[in-house]
């Protein structure tokens, strides 16, 4: 197929050179001007995300594991997939009375204090695909922050905190540090120097999965999580 490559690039180069195009300068100020006073960012994020059915919980660094597990227990969830190798994941398992199940097993045991079982995402997806799709109620992830302009969480999944944690479980619980707020996607990208090295996958998540493909009627939870729960950690 290198023939196609040479032919395509050759045509493009030849015809562009015959009729060069001078683009107008890109003025990014309309994006740079998307700014909110620090105290308005979180309320705005909340308002925008709640408008698309995102739920919010308030917590502190000390009590968020309890807030999360209490909430999920109350909501009838029995399994929580988490990332054991992250700081948050370690904290969750250390502060939850339900011990993690042994490697490779389906369910945890000995959930004395609550009916919620923690399941570590500690092996490749191929090793537990069926359980992932059929046996997990909730998934917990951290975030890199949130964006005031559009009400979006920023996630950079990693080897420690894999991609499907925020996609397959029916409930996605995301920890948002109240001081990690950006004005716009553009600002987050520039401040974080994303262009210097992109991760395998970078995500903005602005609500639970939704569709309006049936007669413009909004329905939540079509393929991804049915519920998105943001825990604001102060």
């Amino acid at each position: 197929m290198s023939d196609a490559r040479a032919a395509i690039l050759g045509t493009l180069r030849r015809t562009r050179d015959a009729h060069p195009l001078t683009p107008p300068p890109s003025d990014f100020t309309p994006l740079a001007e998307k700014q909110w006073p620090p105290e308005e960012r979180l309320p705005r994020i909340r308002r925008l995300m709640e408008a698309v059915h995102t739920e919010f919980l308030e917590a502190t660094e000390a009590d968020w594991p309890a807030v999360v597990t209490d909430f999920l227990t109350r909501e009838g969830a029995s399994t929580l997939l988490y990332a054991p190798e992250t700081i948050d994941g370690a904290k969750l398992s250390a502060n939850t009375h339900s011990p993690s199940p042994p490697r490779g097993e389906g369910r945890g045991e000995g959930d004395v204090a609550s009916s919620l079982t923690l399941i570590p995402y500690d092996r490749p997806i191929e090793d537990f695909k069926q359980q992932m799709f059929e046996g997990i109620d909730a998934g917990l992830t951290g975030t890199l922050g949130a964006i005031a302009d559009t009400g979006s969480l920023i996630l950079w999944p990693s080897a420690q905190e894999p991609r499907l944690l925020s996609l397959v479980p029916h409930i996605h619980v995301a920890l948002l540090r109240a001081d990690a707020l950006y004005d716009s996607f553009w600002q987050a990208m520039r401040d974080g120097r994303w262009a210097d090295g992109m991760p395998t996958n970078a995500l903005l998540i602005s609500g639970p999965s939704k569709t309006a493909d049936i007669e413009q009627t909004l329905a939540y939870g079509v393929h991804g999580p049915k519920r998105l729960v943001v825990v604001i950690v102060r």
């Binding site: 683009p23 890109s26 309309p30 559009t150 007669e215 413009q216 079509v222």
Partner: protein
């Protein structure tokens, strides 16, 4: 012209049928009214709109100004990131590339997110001929696939159907649908259960690309449902299809597009997911595809690029807002166009891809009202291009495929006569005086008058022309 007639797509006949379907017309009218209103709310601040679209247009124009270089840079960076790049001049080549990847992966089931490029390729039919199942996973695409039809809108593929019709379709085609409710939530939940099984089992996931970043070798996809993330994360192999114009220079160029596309398309501030993919699964990572392939498709785009005026067609970011605002599209719906891209952008893009013999009528299915131009987030001069294609349709040239295919001697003579009459004051005066005197005697059964009078009374020539009245009133001539 006669030898082309057989293969020409008959838009007029299809639109006539659509107009008679009052349910269809109602579905489109309701949907388009809603979408226009929602979009207007997003752009209530006119200043912000004007500056943002100027920015987005500049991003697209800058990309086009360096298109060959950016495609090479994109290829270099994708390859460096471990993503395999394939080039296809034609849809047949793209299909063959896809089949080969599927065979190497021993895959017999593919799940696909939304990709309009694969609609151009007729990829599903092609793979099914090779015993490979392709399942559309975007809910709207899934519905039209079940129905055995094609998308009627590039963003909302099943917009032509109402809930009742979809419930009926599900009951006919899906085994466990009988016990399901008939509201959107229940139907959505049924699709969720069925498709999750497929995501789990598919050997290949397919997607389109909203923007490919040359600077970093990143594929950006936006969506609401999560099926796009499923297709690009769960199966072991991911194939992404992109038209060659989808490249942008820098990562920073993505936010303007991400900002304008969903606001223009559906009136939402952002889609639920913005998914940026820069590499297959790396050592130690626990999920994500082990292979990613990008198929860069030309399919006539390099010819579109060759002409400095037509080139602007390639600015398009596929938001579909032009459809939502098109009074013709709203009346006839997407299927009447019988093309992967309906509505205004389709009317300028498809004739350039497929040629003016087959698609010569498309640029004429437009009143040139400019509603699309007014709301296009990247300022494509759609109507200017429409006018230019009307010229190409009747004038043989090497610029557009099958240029001159619609040339008609009779029509050319009529315009010659018209020009002669209107460029000589004496001829004009004689002709208009004659029309004023006897024009009204023309029978309503004359070819063009017949069409006019199908729902209108005959236009009446005034007894005296404005020239006459002005002269009589003594209005000076110089």
């Amino acid at each position: 012209m006669a030898d082309h007639a057989a293969q020409a797509v008959n838009f007029a006949a299809a639109s006539k049928a659509a107009l008679q379907d009052s349910e269809l017309r109602g579905n489109f009218r309701r949907a388009m009214d809603g979408l226009m209103t929602k979009r207007a709310v997003q752009f209530a601040d006119g200043q912000e709109w004007h500056r943002m679209r100027a920015l987005a247009a500049s991003v697209r124009l800058r990309a086009l100004s360096k298109l060959p270089e950016l495609l090479e840079q994109l290829e270099t960076n994708l390859t460096r990131n471990g993503i395999q790049v394939h080039w296809a001049a034609t849809t047949a080549e793209a299909n063959a590339i896809t089949l080969e990847i599927m065979r190497k992966a021993n895959a017999t089931l593919a799940v696909k997110g939304k990709s309009m490029v694969t609609e151009e390729m007729h990829l599903n039919a092609f793979l099914e001929d090779h015993d490979i199942e392709v399942l559309e996973s975007d809910l709207g695409e899934y519905i039209v696939q079940l129905d055995g039809t094609m998308p009627s809108h590039i963003i909302m593929p099943a917009i032509h159907l109402n809930t009742k019709q979809i419930a009926h379709l599900f009951k006919q085609k899906i085994k466990d649908a009988a016990s399901t409710g008939e509201d959107a939530a229940a139907l959505t939940d049924l699709a969720r259960r069925i498709l999750r099984q497929k995501f789990m089992k598919a050997g290949v996931g397919m997607s389109g690309v909203n923007a490919a970043v040359a600077e970093t070798g990143t594929l950006c996809l936006i969506e609401n449902e999560g099926n796009g993330r499923m297709c690009t994360t769960v199966p072991p192999v991911h194939i992404a299809f992109m038209g060659l114009e989808k490249v942008v220079e820098r990562l920073e160029d993505v936010p303007p597009i991400i900002s304008l596309l969903p606001r223009s398309a559906t009136g939402q501030p952002i889609t639920t997911y913005v998914n940026m993919i820069s590499s297959p699964r790396k050592e130690g990572e626990k999920d994500g595809p082990r292979e990613i392939h990008v198929v860069i498709l030309d399919n006539g785009r390099s010819s579109v690029y060759a002409d400095p005026e037509l080139r602007d067609t390639l600015r398009c970011i596929r938001c579909g807002a032009c459809m939502n605002h098109c009074p013709v599209y709203t009346k006839v719906g997407g299927h009447a166009y019988q093309a992967p891209y309906p509505g205004p952008i389709g009317k300028i893009l498809v004739p350039q891809m497929e040629g003016l013999a087959k698609r010569g009528e498309m640029p004429h299915a437009c009143t040139m009202c400019n509603a699309c131009v007014e709301i296009c987030p990247v300022k494509i001069p759609i109507v200017e291009i429409m006018g230019r294609l009307r010229v190409e349709a009747v004038r043989p040239s090497a610029t557009v495929k099958d240029a001159g295919a619609q040339a008609s001697r009779t029509e050319a003579l009529v315009w010659k006569g018209w020009a002669a009459m209107n460029s000589s004051p004496l001829a004009y005066r004689l002709a208009t005086t004659a029309l004023s005197a006897v024009g009204n005697a023309a029978p309503a059964s004359l070819p063009l008058l017949k069409d006019w009078t199908s729902v209108r009374s005959k236009p009446r020539f005034a007894a005296k022309t404005l020239h006459d009245l002005a002269r009589k009133k003594g209005i000076p001539d110089v």
